[in-house]
């Protein structure tokens, strides 16, 4: 009899511990996202899966490669002198001052200007900010798929001459290690916001492990 009761007792205790853990995780999460200064996405949205080409010319499956990592996804183009470099330079500077945060964060820049931005051009560009930044591009069709998957408006070109502009989503999408997009960062986000939010986002782990 004792042999039967004991496992039941242990199971009950285990259940209680797990329940408390889930509760705690739930609370910690609510408090954490309350402290975010970015634009909170409620409910959080799942990380998309799409495949593009990285700056080594190799296939990069976004969902798989960034699994379990704090991931910042941004669509832009290199001839953009006003908006894109501000986001990237600010992130690079935040990372240089907080190497611990840099180590756990993937920055993924997707060029939506495949005609001008070859993988080599993208690599050279990103290296001016931080050599760890990941650069992706693809065919027009692949880029449409990626933008739709990430739920951003499709970029489009404006102007006929070689200095055409590309209109594109101006925000950075942040996916926490739990694989969910908890906040976005519009143009004009200051470094103080990144310094506040990145550690919080990094701490949002998947509850089920």
């Amino acid at each position: 009899v004792a042999g039967i009761r004991k496992p039941a007792h242990v199971l009950l205790r285990l259940t209680a511990i797990v329940a408390a853990g889930v509760l705690l995780a739930g609370c910690a999460r609510a408090i954490a996202t309350d402290d975010l200064q970015g634009v909170v996405v409620d409910p959080p949205q799942p990380k998309p899966s799409f495949t593009l080409t990285d700056t080594n010319g190799e296939a990069y499956e976004f969902g798989e490669r960034t699994e379990g990592k704090l991931t910042l996804l941004y669509f832009g183009y290199i001839n953009c002198p006003d908006i894109c470099p501000v986001h990237l330079a600010q992130l690079a500077e935040v990372f240089s001052q907080a190497p611990a945060v840099a180590r756990i964060t993937e920055v993924v820049f997707v060029s939506v200007d495949p005609d001008r931005d070859t993988p080599e051009v993208i690599r050279e560009y990103l290296d001016r900010f931080d050599h760890r930044f990941i650069g992706l591009t693809g065919t027009e069709e692949e880029l449409v798929t990626a933008q739709n998957a990430a739920n951003v408006p499709l970029a489009y070109t404006v102007g006929e001459d070689e200095d055409y502009a590309v209109e594109h989503a101006a925000w950075v999408i942040a996916y926490a290690p739990d694989g969910l997009n908890h906040a976005i960062y519009p143009f004009g986000t200051r470094q103080t916001t990144w310094r506040n939010d990145l550690p919080i986002l990094a701490g949002i782990e998947a509850v089920s492990g």
């Binding site: 600010q90 560009y125 502009a165 143009f187």
Partner: protein
Amino acid sequence: VKAGLIGGVAVLALAGCGGSVVPEITDVRVAEPIGPHAALYLTATSSGPSDKLIAAATDVAQGVELHRSAIDDHGVAGMERLDEFGLPAGGRLVLEPGDYHLMLLNVDHLEVGDTIEVTLTWEKAGNVPVTADVVSPAHTLREEP
């Protein structure tokens, strides 16, 4: 005496109409170019009549265009080329990231810490030379919006 008085009035009138009320230009900064072009930002403050910035030139770029970035209700960033930027009488014209800026086309190699000379051409005030500091794009936004 009378001639002197008339002369003095004439000088004052010339000062008023001749466009010698030069806007005060501050905070002139150019983002270190990472691609082929670089964006220049500044603040112009008028202490007189309204004016218009109609052109700019510098030796370190192939040309300078007047641009305005704008972010629409959907968060999409776009850019348009303008012919002029208005400076209201007694007001300010602010060039900053995500808004009005001067685009230096195919700019020379510039590094943080360099300075460049730029001539601003105003419709009334005429040519106004300014010096721009080259800064990291991380520092083109002013610290508070």
